[in-house]
Symmetry: C4
Subunit: 241 residues, 4 copies
């Protein structure tokens, strides 16, 4: 079961997608995990649990059955979020990459249990509508098969939405999951989600400050002085002839 | 039409301006685009659509007619925002570089459809007054020739302003465009716009907190203890004789 | 007392933990300090006071008695916060690494004298409940043995809590201390504390903006235009066949 | 007047202090300037105007008389803020380094014309009390000798304060100046000022959110699940035996 070249390309792609996530600045320490499915081989490969990114190799990646979730290759335990990934692959045949992170702004919206509305074209370029929030997990769901139940409530949130159109979700009080046509694609969606979450958060702050538009503007003599120091016939800035 | 040295210097300058934008931290993935016009040759060169910055070369840059907008050199599709750039070059003969990005704070102001007021000398050093917001696009304008219409509403916003004095605009619900005497100049204006947008946003937040100036100051014994641990005759910090 | 190989491994580990803190972006200049205890040798090693991180070597690390706090190895003065570290090692036999920093968000909560509540799973993954704040120090405590008193009020805050479960505290009007099973572990807890402090701070901001959920969403024609420029049969973005 | 080795060490120190400012992340483009005085030689050296940091050499630094402000060495124009630096050196004999920047948070406080209160020990470690704001400049002062008048109002703000105790000021609607015993020292004070300005700004935000402490905490079953996945006898996270 551990012949070193089995699933080599899949494991290499999953390694690189996890390293892309680490480089993106979205995670610290060993946080976050990315997987990719190979439908023909009926398996998916995923990051191991608790291994530092700077020591991770393709031989640390775990490969599991898409049918049973059992490990079919690898010596390390897969990410503790593996049952969530498996649920998404089983429910959504067009999704072949899944990413999870605790990126700052997407996590803020998740913890606040607020869907991210589509407030601008940055969001509209990638996501076909608002980013939904999953429902509350019952104490029993948390207790019995927590990570699988997390997958179930994600799928529930997309009962009347196309997961290919809106490739991201906010798990309530937890954090974001994104997906795509492969592992790298799911990480790029996480990067875009975080940027949209940040812009929308800051725009909410602006909304909250709208009563303060009477802030004192720069008085005209000082404004003019600064502009004219650098521009026009009498500019003194820089190394002019 | 694709002789490799044609428009070489122009394409090289446009490549470098796009890489400067990527390095500036203002964009993620393939977001953003920069162009430069060569008025003598009656063309402008612009970033290709959807090509990663780390693989982009001068041979990927597209060159188009300033008159018709038709491609005159290159094998790749130009940026999807190309018709907006063209409109600005056609309307404003002194502008020879244009930049577009979804930089965080300038996008927040754009989405909020709020002009950025001149609140300090940082803004006044570069921009001759507030940064205006374009008007709302009608559903018909969005539907028919969206990118060209975006150029039209930018030009409209400058009917009674000099685009050389205020080299930036916020496209409503979208994001910023900046311009200058060449491609690099337009990117530098984007960097300055983002810094001004950020400072002004944070100052609005301070305005919103003005009722809270009664925040508890550090009590005097603790304040004095910390200052005197590091300064004066009885200081204990560091490697003193 | 200064034989160059004495306590060499302990000092090397403490050096590396301090450099990890510097690389983490949590401190500027010479701010912050990390220590590790060797219970068998009855000593702990700690960063010297006021030495820049880029010139620090294992020979600059000071080693002190866990019993008396007296220096047993090294030519430089230990960190001015050394008495606080000593108090924690003496009170908590299972703690063998301590870290102090003025990281931005954890310091904000400390200065505001607010415990960080557990608002999501990011926090719950590491800390067993809220991060407590120490009580106010009296003027006499500040005056007489300030750094030791800081250790005492930390221990007080954990009288009815297990320091192994919640490995962090906010010292009122000052900043955070974290701890762990060794020096690197305490630095990782500081990195996690800062991320939790940041997410919780931003979520408070969202709470403050909840009356503004009526913010104008992107109107449907523009939203659809942007999504369809990049997706589906009529997409124009990128280098499609 | 331009013998290449004259004032070499002074110019080299001023170059390095300006490069430290550029590396610190506090400035973009050519923004900011640092100077250092040599009291024995009765001169001070300062950054040239409008020269990019990555091409700046010690031969670009300008040297001016401390008495008259006339240039005594160098082929480039000194920073346009030079008259402000000169005023401070003339008024304060113990100050031998001056730094100016438009760093984000210190500029926000300057534009808001709010003194930065001492809210915690991070501030108290370096600055002996609040960071003051200069008075409003009259239109005549702006018009006649703007940069020198900026120096005058800084000195005015310290009439009843010791500039060696509080080595920073906020110029109203403009930005911060800091100083110290040499050029590098003034840059380090700018780095500390920015960190204090940021922490205080964020703490004001927290004050503004104090009515929202009723934010929903993580419910107990989910909180416990996450903590216990990673800690204790039944932990499943990582590569355990």
């Amino acid at each position: 079961m551990n012949e070193s070249n089995e699933y080599r390309e899949l494991r290499q792609r999953v390694l690189e997608a996890n390293l892309l996530l680490a480089r993106s600045g979205l995670v610290i320490l060993t946080w976050g995990n990315v997987s990719e499915a190979d439908r023909a081989a009926d398996v998916f490969a995923i990051k191991p649990s608790g291994v530092p990114y700077d020591r991770m190799t393709a031989d640390d990646i775990a490969v599991l059955s898409l049918e049973t979730g059992e490990k079919v290759w690898g010596r390390l335990n897969p990410s503790s979020d593996t049952p969530t990934h498996l649920k998404l692959y089983q429910a959504w045949p067009d999704v072949n990459g899944v990413c999870h992170a605790h990126s700052t702004y997407a996590t803020v919206w998740s913890q606040a249990a607020r869907a991210i509305p589509c407030l601008g074209t940055t969001h509209a370029d990638t996501f076909d509508g608002e980013i939904p929030v999953t429902r509350h997990l019952t104490a029993q769901e948390v207790d019995e098969a927590y990570e699988a139940a997390t997958g179930d409530v994600i799928i529930e949130a997309f009962r009347s939405r196309d997961p290919s159109g809106t490739s991201a979700v906010l798990v309530r009080q937890h954090g974001p999951f994104t997906w795509g046509k492969n592992a790298v694609d799911s990480v790029e969606h996480m990067m875009i989600l975080e940027q949209c979450a940040r812009i929308s958060h800051l725009q909410y702050e602006q909304g909250a400050t709208s009563l303060h538009e009477s802030l004192k503007k720069l008085d005209e003599p000082l404004r003019r002085k600064h502009y004219e120091r650098k521009h026009g016939a009498n500019a003194t800035y820089g190394q002019r002839g």
